[in-house]
Symmetry: C2
Subunit: 250 residues, 2 copies
């Protein structure tokens, strides 16, 4: 019998402290299933888009993708349709697929939705948090502070794990799934940037404050804090994007 805890580590990476926090979706989400080839292709292409290996607006030529991944065109076509349904790819009739650009508007839209949804998820969590949940949050927070933004990739994973602890058991699977999909995009975007010192301090402070509020059972205050937390995060990332765009243009 395989325990749930073990399953987390099937990602192919060596067992290490980090792997405990390898970001994974809330359970029951990816139950969409897939055609054997299709699933891997879908994941591969989506990763390429999110990680930026496929540039914005780049054409996605089925024959090329098929050759590159060693299959025929049909699995590629299905993967692209799947991505279209999730909004990562845009189709034009008789002109094929392009990578949907993840621009400032896109990111802003996603953050704004997060500001609306995450407080509700948080409020529910405050009422449902167990001792283990809080211990887990404190453990992750300890690792975040230990890492102290030295490894931005690691911070990104830890931060995602922190919030996943809060949201993963929410009864509204739709909302949790929405949050997770948005999170995946934002994680990749924010990974391209560094955190300002002010933002670093704010993150640490707000996380600590959040844990305190959860302990005290202050649901409303925790929700309000999360609202500010997400908004601040969005503001920060958008500033970075704007700065980089300005630098590129100038």
């Amino acid at each position: 019998m395989i325990s749930d805890r073990l399953c987390i580590n099937l990602g192919g990476r060596p067992l290490a402290e980090t792997d405990d926090f390898k970001a994974k979706p809330p359970p029951g989400i990816d139950a969409i299933g897939a055609s054997s080839e299709g699933v891997s292709l879908y994941e591969l292409i989506r990763e390429d888009i999110i990680e930026g290996r496929l540039a914005a607006n780049e054409r996605l030529v089925v024959t090329d993708l098929a050759r590159r991944h060693g299959t025929s065109t049909n699995p590629v076509r299905e993967a692209l349709q799947l991505l279209r349904g999730e909004g990562f790819v845009i189709f034009s009739p008789n002109r094929g697929a392009r990578v949907r650009p993840i621009d400032q508007d896109f990111v802003r839209d996603i953050y704004e939705i997060g500001v609306l949804i995450e407080p509700a998820l948080t409020r529910w969590f405050v009422g449902m948090a167990t001792g283990e949940d809080i211990a887990e949050l404190e453990r992750i927070q300890g690792l975040i502070e230990e890492n102290n933004f030295a490894d931005t990739f690691r911070h990104s994973e830890l931060d995602t794990a922190f919030h996943t602890v809060m949201y993963q058991r929410h009864y509204n699977r739709h909302a949790a799934e929405l949050w997770w999909k948005h999170r995946e995009v934002l994680r990749a975007v924010s990974r391209r940037f560094n955190f300002t010192l002010a933002r670093r301090a704010a993150i640490i402070r707000e996380h600590r404050e959040l844990i305190a509020l959860i302990k005290a059972g202050e649901a409303d205050k925790a929700a309000e804090l999360i609202s500010r937390h997400v908004e601040g995060s969005g503001r920060h990332v958008l500033e970075q994007m704007r700065a980089r765009n300005a630098a590129r243009a100038g």
Copy 2:
């Protein structure tokens, strides 16, 4: 040459005033584009799911669908993948697609997200509403009251049109798109039920109150009203679903 106007009326219903309010998505949303055959197939199958012509958990056999729609299997396969990406269809490896059941949890989840998002959309609209917008709202509201739930289908279309006026120009396309997709599902679900007298009165009253608040520029109060409006709507539909399920079981 066939005019666009004619194509709208292929649904089998006669030309009537209603067509002015045939629910249509906010502009710029369905820019996903599609493969010529694919798009119609996608729409047809999705309609069949939403309208309940394809039962929950029913198997979706590609060859059958292809025959029924007079094409080969590939367009069907792509349409199904697209629907998978949007959550209407569930795939099992080597076992094909099934219709995702639209159960109470599903509907509740969607309504809850609406309660979170729609107030924000409304708040923005109050600050941006023009005289024409308000006139349009009053016109639609007049038709709603004129119809007075005699034709539930027509009410459903008019109600959707009412809210579309408010949300269609919102800068957050992602949120508007999300609202629209949810709306399509809820429209079909609620069409299967009748409105209680209490609910009818509440809808009329809240719509009137909403218009008044918009005129007065009371953004916060309008947002709070919409929150109650959506919640009440959700509560009503869920009650109906529960009642019907209980009746079926007992």
